[in-house]
Every structure is written in C-alpha cells, then in structure tokens.
C-alpha cells in the first residue's frame, strides 16, 4: 500500500515541484542497479573467500593466488599466497616450497615453508624442511624435521615487515611452573 502511493506520487504531482519527485525516483533507479551489487557486497562482506583443492586433485607446477586456500590434494612445485592463509589439510601431500602470510599444516609437507606471520603445525601435521616465520607453533604429536628460523628480520624475508620474534604453541605445555621457586 505505502509503496503504491509512493510510486504513484512522481507521476501525479508532476507539476507540483521537483523536491518530492527527486526523492521517489532515487530508490527506484537504485533498485535495478543494485541487483548485481549484492553479489559484490557479499564478496566484500566475506572479505576472504576460501578456495578448496580437493583430495583427488594433483597439481604439478606453480600455484599462485590472492585468496585463502585449503589444500586436501597433492601439490608438487611451488605455492605462493603471500597475502593469504594457506591451510594444508589432513589429507594433503605437499612437496613444494611454500610462501604465504600464514600457514596451517595438518597434512604432510616436504619442502621449505616461509610465512610472514605464522606457521602452525597442528597435531598429526608433518613437515620435513626448513621453516622461516616470526611465529611458529608446533602441537604435540606433530612431526618436524629441519630448522626453524625465527631470527628478527630473517624470518619475514618473503614479506616487508620483520615483526618481533614472538612464538606461540598449541601444546598443552605452556603452563607456567607455579612451584618452580620451591626447587632446591
């Protein structure tokens, strides 16, 4: 009811003045143009789209991107997501050099991993290679063989900043020793 009245107004009082006529067409014209807009808005609202590479996918070569990526398949070569989060799923088998903003590892990686923010090896995750990142978390049950470079400046070679070398861990062992002072 209200919409009909509003829609009728522009036609009826055509000669009354421009002010009300200008108000009503605006939403009308905006609606058709805004139809494609919601898709764009939703993309902006999500901020990060996550792309999945499924279990059966095998990639040999170079993988570049500017979206967060989850890999469950096999990749051999090089993976570069310098501004994004790379998740290596539990089923993934990676034989590659990895560069990303942040890397979460639940599967197997053979090769060097470099992150400008953080490398997180979760339980049952496995890395055979060198890690360079300002923050490295290794969970209990994770396998790692190689070196960890958390040197200030050296860690973030792949990116611009060299953040302070603070590290965190998921292992349950970060409790502070309450009774440490009682020793000896």
């Amino acid at each position: 009811m209200w919409k009909r009245d509003d829609a009728a107004k522009p036609n009826a009082p055509a000669g009354q003045g421009p002010a009300p006529a200008q108000h009503s067409p605006a939403p009308l014209t905006a609606e058709p143009t805004s139809r494609p807009a919601p898709t764009g808005d939703t993309q902006r609202g999500q901020e990060r789209t996550v792309v999945n590479i499924g279990k059966s996918v095998v990639i040999k070569g170079e993988l570049n991107g500017s979206e967060d990526l989850t890999i469950e398949g096999q990749v051999e070569g090089k993976i570069e997501l310098r501004q994004n989060v790379l998740t290596i799923g539990a089923n993934a088998r990676i034989k590659a050099q990895v560069f990303a903003k942040s890397v979460i590892i639940l599967g197997e990686v053979t090769g060097n991993v470099s992150a400008s923010e953080k490398v997180d090896i979760r339980d049952n995750g496995s890395v055979d290679g060198d890690i360079a990142a300002p923050r490295v978390a290794i969970a209990e049950g994770a396998h790692f063989r190689g070196s960890i470079d958390m040197q200030k400046g050296g860690a973030a070679k792949s990116d611009t900043k060299a953040p302070a070398a603070t590290a965190s861990t998921q292992s349950s062992s970060q409790q502070t020793p309450a009774a440490a002072g009682a020793n000896r």
Partner: protein, 219 residues
C-alpha cells in the same frame, strides 16, 4: 584426627620420593629446576644477536616458542632420540656411530649453542665419541653446549625423557614415547676427554644425581 592432619601435610608411608628436585608433579610430568639452563641461555644471548642453536632432542612446541621469544634464533631440530629409537628397534645400534659422522649438514664453527639434554647417557661409546667430535666441529668459538649426564647406570632399559623448558630456570620432565635404552655413566674425565677442544665452564650435581654440564669453546 591428629594423624589425619599430619598425613595431609606429610609423606605417607610407602610413598616414593619425588624424583630429583621435583617440587610438583602433574600427570606424568615433573618440574625440575636447572642450574645450567640459565647460564646456557645467558651465554647464547651474549654470543650473538641472531644465534644458531641445535636441539638434539625431540621437537617440543614450548621450547621452540621459548627460543623464539627469548633469543629470536635459528633453531635446528636434530632428534637423535628418534635415530636411536629407530636403530634400537632394528637392532642396529652399532651402526649409529657411522651415521652420526654424516648426519649434520652444518659447516665448521657455525653454531652458537647445542642442547644435548641426556642423549650421551644412551649412546654406545663409539656413537658418543662420534657425536662429540661433530659437536666440537660445529661449535663456534665462544659457543656453548649443555648436557645432562647420569651418575647411576641403568644397564637394561631406562625410558627417554622429554625436556620442556617451563621457564629460564625450570625444566618440565615429560615421558617420551620412545623405547628407551640402557644408560651408561660417563665419568667427568671421560667427558672432558671426549669433548677435546672444549672446556667445562660449569658443572652442577643435582639432588637426582644428574650432572648438568656446560661446555664452552674458547673464543
């Protein structure tokens, strides 16, 4: 009543003594204060702004975090307990010495600190000597080595221990999943002889009869 009160505060009959200097036990873990660790950390911090460390024990997330926060270092994990375990299960412990000569990819005088934990207690003599040679080779002038050495042999089998750094003076001893092995006692003179080229900077005997030894290469 009085006996109940006393029992809460005291040791129950038949209760075993806590191992070593452990002030508190949580699950299978014990907290043990370390005299050598703060000295090792201090030595490493003064040695270089961006030190290079080798950890001969299993990878422990908390230790990685600790070294990242405290030293901002480059840490190499060379889990010799896993190597030992593999050889012990395969019955090829005699071959371990041969593998140690080729295992480390580090250049001569390129490492600031090496955490040996108690790996020398388990190694056969030839393997221990091979490892000591490699340590001396890799250590920079001024670099430090921290090792724990038992004073009581366990001729059959002793479990491995994971040494997790709780803070700069305290280690959390945690059970290791490996099969363990026989422990050998190395006399002080054997240690000095084995690490020819290094000097004993500090040595501490803990209540648990473990010797914490800090070795240094003269700068």
């Amino acid at each position: 009543m009085l006996s109940d009160i006393l029992r809460w505060g005291g040791k129950r009959p038949g209760q075993p003594d806590p191992p070593g200097d452990a002030p508190a036990a949580r699950g299978g873990d014990t907290l043990v204060s370390s005299k050598a660790l703060p000295k090792f950390l201090s030595a490493i911090a003064h040695q270089s702004e961006t030190p290079v460390l080798i950890d001969l024990g299993p990878v422990i997330g908390a230790n990685v975090s600790f070294f990242g926060e405290q030293l901002g270092c480059k840490l190499f994990i060379e889990d010799l307990f896993a190597d030992y375990d593999r050889h012990a299960r395969a019955g090829t412990l005699d071959e371990l010495a041969g593998t140690l000569d080729k295992r480390f990819r580090h250049e001569d005088s390129s490492v600031d600190g090496i955490l040996c934990w108690d790996v020398f207690d388990y190694l056969p003599k030839a393997a221990a000597q091979a490892l000591a040679r490699q340590i001396v080779r890799m250590l920079r002038p001024g670099g430090s080595v921290m090792g724990f050495f038992c004073s009581t042999a366990a001729p059959v089998k002793a479990p491995f221990t994971k040494y997790e750094i709780a803070d700069d003076k305290t280690l959390r001893h945690r059970p290791h999943a490996g099969i363990g092995g026989a422990k050998h006692v190395l006399l002080n003179r054997d240690i000095i002889k084995m690490f020819d080229g290094l000097i004993v900077a500090d040595s501490f005997l803990l209540k648990s009869n473990t010797r914490e030894i800090l070795l240094k290469r003269r700068s």
